[in-house]
């Protein structure tokens, strides 16, 4: 390669392992999301405000099992916050992918699957502040739980909300960018409302209850409440969320193939 000697011959040498470089990309994506104050305010302020408002009205009543409504509502509003964070962060993945920036990103050692992995991980991280913010609001409102209950609630909610990142991603894949934002918001509101995250499902008309109980949002809320109110673990919810996850992965795969066919990548 005698014809191709460089004038600046000293280059930075990095380990050949792609893990370190993918981690670098993850850290940058995460920092970019945290700096997006409008997005962070949206995913934190809305559930916190709604929690403080509803808990102010009903919070002092007692729910089934002798637990204060303020505590149950804290979990369902945290679920709602996490749902919004996951779906919106999921939708952002597709908007970045369909913008020309993705093409520039692909002229680097980053692979398409590396991109999606990092972006899904970033979206999952968006759920954390949404949950924590509502938990803190709960503490301020006087909710007191043992440490292991806090940790268990946080843990099961994170897992139960993970598929909602794919829901955001799927909406991004199947709708145009302008409509995707509206569809994401509407879907999120429907899932929250019908899934009983704002009002208990018992308050809804009887015909709606089977619909509610087929939604992943309802079961995410139920699973999140389990460490707080105890009783039998809602295994049925694991099944239903599992079915939704499979369905979303199939839709995602089809949407991705369609996107590859219609836009040049």
């Amino acid at each position: 390669m005698t014809t191709a000697t460089l004038s600046p011959t000293h280059t930075v040498t990095r380990p050949r392992s792609s893990a370190a470089r993918t981690w670098h990309y993850f850290i940058h994506s995460l920092a970019a999301m945290l700096r997006d104050w409008a997005f962070m305010a949206f995913i934190i302020a809305l559930p916190v405000t709604m929690y403080l408002f509803f808990a102010g009205i009903y919070g002092d009543q007692e729910a089934s099992g002798g637990v204060a409504v303020a505590a149950v509502m804290m979990v369902t509003m945290a679920t709602y916050g996490g749902l919004g964070a996951a779906m919106n962060a999921g939708a952002v993945i597709q908007s970045e992918r369909s913008s020309g920036w993705f093409r520039q990103l692909m002229i680097s050692p980053l692979t398409p699957s590396g991109f999606v992995t990092v972006k899904v991980a970033t979206a999952v991280c968006a759920v954390i502040p949404a949950l924590l913010a509502v938990f803190i609001a709960g503490i301020i409102r006087g909710v007191r739980l043992p440490l292991e209950t806090w940790l268990a609630t946080f843990g099961v909610l994170m897992v139960a909300l993970l598929p909602m990142v794919f829901l955001g991603l799927v909406i991004g894949l199947w709708f145009k960018q302008q409509t995707a934002t509206a569809v994401t918001t509407l879907t999120m509101l429907a899932l929250a409302m019908i899934g009983g995250l704002w009002f208990p499902v018992d308050m809804m008309p009887g015909w709606m209850q089977p619909i509610s109980k087929s939604l992943p949002s309802y079961w995410a809320g139920r699973i999140g409440m389990w460490p707080v109110i105890g009783g039998e673990f809602p295994w049925r919810g694991v099944l239903i969320i599992g079915i939704w996850t499979l369905g979303l992965l199939v839709l995602g795969g089809l949407g991705y193939r369609r996107a590859v066919r219609t836009s040049r990548r």
Binding site: M1, T11, V12
Partner: protein, 301 residues
Amino acid sequence: MTDTAIQLTGLTKTYGTLTAVDRLDLDVPAGQILALLGPNGAGKSTATEMIIGLTAPDAGSARVFGLDPVAAVRAGRTGAMLQNGALLADTTVGRLLRMMHGLHLNPLPLAEVIEMADVGKILKTSTSKLSGGQAQRVRFALAILADPQLIMLDEPTVGLDVDARRRFWRIMGSLTDSGRTVVFATHYLDEADEFADRIVVLNEGRVVADGTGAQIKERVGGRHVSFTGPDQDWSTVDGVVGVERDGERVTLNSSDADATLRALFTGPGADAISNVEVAPVRLEDAFLALVEPVSREERAA
């Protein structure tokens, strides 16, 4: 190690009924500065995308330094500036460059890239608030981060004013001096003539001419000889390859201007000829002459 930077063999890409790139064969030796010249829709962008692995060919193959285009990109051997390439929104130029720098295996030191691309003053500027020229400098910085041996530029100076364009090519010049291979797509003909060692003219996905700027001009005649004279058949005069007439004014397209002038002034009608001018064929005319017959043939087909 191979001395061929790019090797295209029967490269073909169709979109629906449109054949964007049609059985393209092209070898680019390492160290060459090549211009892909052609009108809109000639297949320049599609060919570029296949060379950088963004688009997979329907038939044929592209090899970059003997590697698959995607492998060459991941190894940092190819850098590219895309046409109107979008930048990541809602971040600063500095953050964007640091993020991309961390992805590459053996990148140039970031400080050096910043200096070469002249983006030092806009590091804190948001990517959505850049002027056309500034954005182009950022894209250029992204293209050279990996210390690539091959730099692909898809219409790098489109939308830039004359100053910014000159500035861009001055920066490019410093890079090409280091022996890298540069391929740029353009429809600015002067740009191709001025900065490229070799011009490949594309039309409808095919190569219609391949050579230096001078050779391409020669293919359609080297000089325009124009004068005021009688209406007669001038095409038989020595060296003439084309005749145009505009009122009294005759323009002869000549491959040998000396022979043409000698024939004109020694011939029988010499007295009737006045106001003679000799001018080089503009690359623009050469370009049109190359592209048009193909289009006509296509329409007939």
